[in-house]
């Protein structure tokens, strides 16, 4: 489903001072390749800081996909029709797949899957703040597709041109698969707004009211408070700034909301002729920081669900390994 402007979630130590002449030369060659728009592959030399930044961003992105299955999983057994249930299942399965593509991309940088899981389960790793909000009604499923996946796609499309090729390749696959996520969400909401009862229409508006602000927070803190952005831009890991992406998303969403017949819960939202963009109200960044730091409405529940799934699955992983070892021994004999 998504990524956040994840680069802002960790404080990086300053890159270490280069030591040998050889290392200086490698660094220069690396910088020249980045400047030329070349892609970096897993076995190529890269600065330690570049590697660390990518491991953090890609693993957080992967965690977001996996944790992102939980809020929607809540509604699979409650979907109103078989068609909607099949769609939701396909979407959640995609998210599992997207998590796997991303974990695999991160592993090419020399971190193991177990290390990443361990960091998530121990609460050391972050994932997108958006998944720490509850899914209270069926309209939340449509709204997540429309707004949350919409914001995610806006964030992810530029990463298809990331300088680290395994990440870029994973993103291309993800973006291709994900456009249906946003469309199915909008269509589900449109169905309710067109054919629904007054109560169902009110349910859609309520869901939009709850998800709007968390959705635009998904782009991360404002550019002037985004400490690692400049370096990530320099390295071609990040291509478009948080504020620029947020503005693009808001501008695109306003017309969609009109078409749907819902209002966006921001009294300051209005067209600015001079900027040829929409002005919008102040974002409550204290809420964002609170949720990222672990104190959102569902942080504990989400993490507990992940840890339980992992622990409950341990015997399956062990049994499969034991079976594979036994078969290998038999074949060798």
């Amino acid at each position: 489903m998504y990524t956040q402007a994840m680069d802002t979630m960790g404080k990086d130590e300053a890159p270490k001072v280069l030591r040998s002449a050889e290392e200086v030369q490698l660094q220069e060659r690396f910088d020249a390749r980045i400047d030329a728009g070349d892609f970096i592959e897993a076995k190529d030399w890269m600065p330690e800081h570049y590697r660390k930044t990518l491991v953090r961003q890609i693993s957080q992105h992967a965690h977001s996909e996996i944790v992102g299955m939980l809020p929607e999983g809540n509604w699979i057994s409650r979907a109103p029709t078989l068609k909607r249930k099949a769609i939701l299942l396909a979407k959640v399965q995609d998210e599992g797949g997207h998590g796997l593509y991303l974990y695999a991309a991160a592993e090419t940088l020399g971190t193991s899957r177990d290390q990443m899981f361990d960091a998530l389960h121990a609460g050391r790793a972050k994932y997108s703040s958006i998944f720490n909000y509850p899914t209270l009604s069926w309209a939340d499923m449509g709204t997540i597709g429309w707004l949350v996946d919409g914001a995610a796609i806006m964030n992810q499309v530029p990463i298809c041109r990331c300088s680290y090729a395994p990440y870029a390749r994973a993103m291309i696959r993800i973006c291709r698969e994900e456009s249906f996520h946003q469309r199915q969400g909008f269509e589900a909401l449109l169905t309710m707004m067109t054919h629904g009862t007054e109560a169902q229409k009110a349910m859609v508006q309520d869901a939009v009211n709850r998800w709007w602000w968390p959705s635009i927070m998904m782009f991360g803190p404002p550019d002037d408070e985004s400490p690692n952005s400049a370096q990530s831009m320099r390295w071609g890991i990040k291509r478009v700034s948080n504020d620029e992406l947020r503005q693009r998303f808001i501008d695109a969403t306003v017309d969609q909301a009109k078409l749907l017949g819902v209002t966006l819960p921001d009294p300051d939202l209005k067209w600015n002729e001079a900027r040829q963009s929409h002005d919008f109200g102040a974002i409550d960044w204290s809420e964002f920081k609170r949720v990222i730091a672990g104190d959102g409405p569902c942080n504990r529940e989400r993490l507990a669900a992940r840890v339980k799934a992992w622990d409950d699955g341990a015997w399956v992983r062990e049994a499969a390994t034991a079976h594979a070892n036994k078969q290998a021994l038999k074949e060798a004999a």
Partner: protein
């Protein structure tokens, strides 16, 4: 990131998918699986959810032998100045353009 040891992770496999009959298998990603049979099944689930394939190959990642990226120039540049290996190098009369 964590410094905890790898806890008996399933081995890594590379997945290759033939998108339709007549085309070659193409690398599309990797996954963890306990054995070959599981790797094939998971390869199908992870990489062909939208009819992207008609055949899947898997191979243990540690079994792949690759050229060294450091040798890229030494290895591949010698072909750079051999333009005469391409048909467009040869100028023929217009009437023979289809040759």
């Amino acid at each position: 990131m964590s410094t905890s040891p790898v806890q008996n992770e399933w081995p890594l496999w590379e997945v290759f998918v033939r998108s339709k009959a007549g085309l070659d298998h193409k690398h599309c990603g990797s996954l963890h699986a306990a054995d070959a049979k599981m790797a094939i099944q998971m390869g199908r689930d992870v990489y062909t959810r939208r009819q992207e394939g008609v055949s899947v190959w898997v191979v243990r990642s540690d079994q792949i032998v690759a050229s060294d990226p450091g040798d890229k120039a030494m290895y591949f540049d010698p072909a750079e100045d051999k333009v005469y290996r391409h048909p467009t190098f040869y100028e023929l009369p217009k009437s023979l353009d289809h040759m």
